[in-house]
């Protein structure tokens, strides 16, 4: 059974954090098809958050087709997100490491690296949409 945690300072809305944690677990294979998600009561009993937050997160996951709610029984995983690209993670991680070395040697500090990455990421995504 997956356990959720809330990062109050991440700036990410709580319900989104739950969604992301479920998706991550699915990707990493920690959650498999047929597994049951913790009940709303269980979740809020562990991390004291509003039950509506959990409901909202589960609804979004259901909307994405990842889980299905069975009334009276619980919410179950219907699909995995096992990443076929999991294999590519290794080399990509290495590429990234090398890029980071380059950036540091050029004199960029943590903040500039992050800003540069975010900016590029955003514009690349926008280009992708447009």
């Amino acid at each position: 059974m997956i356990e959720f945690h809330l990062d109050t300072r991440s700036g990410v809305a709580p319900y989104l954090q739950i969604v992301q944690q479920v998706r991550r677990a699915l990707k990493l294979g920690l959650l498999r098809e047929g597994d049951q998600l913790p009940t709303v009561k269980e979740v809020v009993g562990r991390i004291a958050i509003n039950p509506n937050t959990v409901l909202k997160a589960y609804r979004e996951l259901e909307h994405d087709g990842l889980v299905a709610a069975r009334p009276g029984v619980g919410t179950f995983v219907t699909r995995t997100l096992s990443d076929p690209s999991l294999a590519a993670h290794g080399p990509l991680r290495q590429d990234l490491g090398r890029w980071l070395d380059k950036a540091r040697r050029a004199g960029l500090d943590d903040e500039s690296i992050e800003a540069l990455f975010r900016d590029t990421f955003r514009s690349a995504r926008e280009e992708g949409v447009a």
């Binding site: 809330l6 700036g11 709580p14 009561k41 809020v44 009993g45 004291a48 958050i49 509003n50 039950p51």
Partner: protein
């Protein structure tokens, strides 16, 4: 959805001081409502008015459609935990449950007992010997076991250590998840409320500053940072809550439902704590202006 608490022009005066002024608010059902504001803002007054422990000096208040504490049935539909969670120090935990059973026709003894069990409380222990957190849990159990439609909690975690505070909120949220109950709880710490509340009422200096669903409030408020500019220079659809200026820079906390087009601004989302602080600041400067106006005219 009908309102659990409906106040119109509600006011309460002690001697010459108004503890609550012109409070008009309709709190919808089905939410966990946070009532936040600094100490002395009037939160306790509002909640005590809602449960009938105080009578209004001005205006009206209806709770679940009825006069507060208007009838035994009405009393049974509202669970209340007062500030400092009063309990009878000479009565044991089990005695308190018996108290609840005798005084409430809708009492669920099984649920109360299993909750006491879950909390690990010794039924024979006198309430005076319990820790602050345990007393708060006992008080919450008493309020919840009569299966109310509305739970009103007056600063229930104010004097608790972080662990007790967390445990209290966990139990409270479990209750909300399994029963159909609306909750109104007050605190002077926004952090307590941020996790659990989906509706917020900000009370500062005896007046309601703002009220609404948390998601809406966060969506409607933005922080604008940019070159020094006058407050009046902002468009009319952007209500300025708080402003601060340096020589070159201005920062505004605004409320608006329209998108912000001006590229000269850096637009940031506002966290709940900053939002509340902004309204507290606004109320403080309004009070200062009022005092200086009075001085001018007297």
């Amino acid at each position: 959805m009908s309102a659990v608490i409906d106040a119109q022009g509600l006011g309460k005066r002690y001697g010459r001081k108004w503890a609550l002024t012109d409070c008009t608010i309709e709190i919808p059902a089905g939410h966990v409502v946070g009532l936040v504001g600094p100490n002395g803002a009037g939160k306790s007054t509002l909640l005590n008015l809602a449960v009938g422990l105080l009578a209004p000096t001005a205006g009206t208040i209806e709770v679940l459609g009825d006069e507060p504490a208007g009838s035994p049935e009405g009393l049974g539909r509202v669970g209340f935990v007062a500030q400092d969670t009063p309990t009878y120090s000479g009565l044991s935990v089990a005695d308190h449950l018996r108290l609840g059973a005798h005084l409430n026709p809708t009492w669920d003894q099984g649920a109360a007992e299993s909750r006491i069990d879950q909390l690990g409380l010794d039924p024979d222990q006198k309430a005076g010997k319990l820790s602050g957190g345990q007393r708060a849990q006992l008080a919450l159990t008493l309020a919840v076991a009569k299966r109310p439609e509305l739970l009103i909690l007056d600063e229930p975690v104010a004097s608790l250590d972080p662990l007790a505070r967390r445990e209290f909120l966990q139990i409270l949220m479990e209750t909300v998840a399994e029963q159909e109950v609306s909750v109104v709880l007050s605190s002077h710490l926004v952090a307590d409320l941020e996790r659990v509340c989906d509706y917020l009422v900000v009370l500062v200096a005896s007046r309601v500053q703002i009220a609404g669903p948390v998601d809406d409030l966060l969506a409607e408020h933005r922080r604008l940072i940019g070159a020094r500019r006058d407050t009046d220079a902002l468009p009319a659809n952007q209500e300025v809550i708080e402003s601060s200026h340096t020589e070159r820079q201005s920062t505004f906390l605004i409320r608006t439902t329209d998108p912000i087009f001006d590229p000269a601004w850096t637009v940031e989302e506002v966290g709940l704590e900053d939002l509340v602080l902004g309204y507290m600041g606004q109320a403080a400067s309004a009070a200062r202006n009022e005092r200086s106006t009075l001085r001018l005219h007297s």
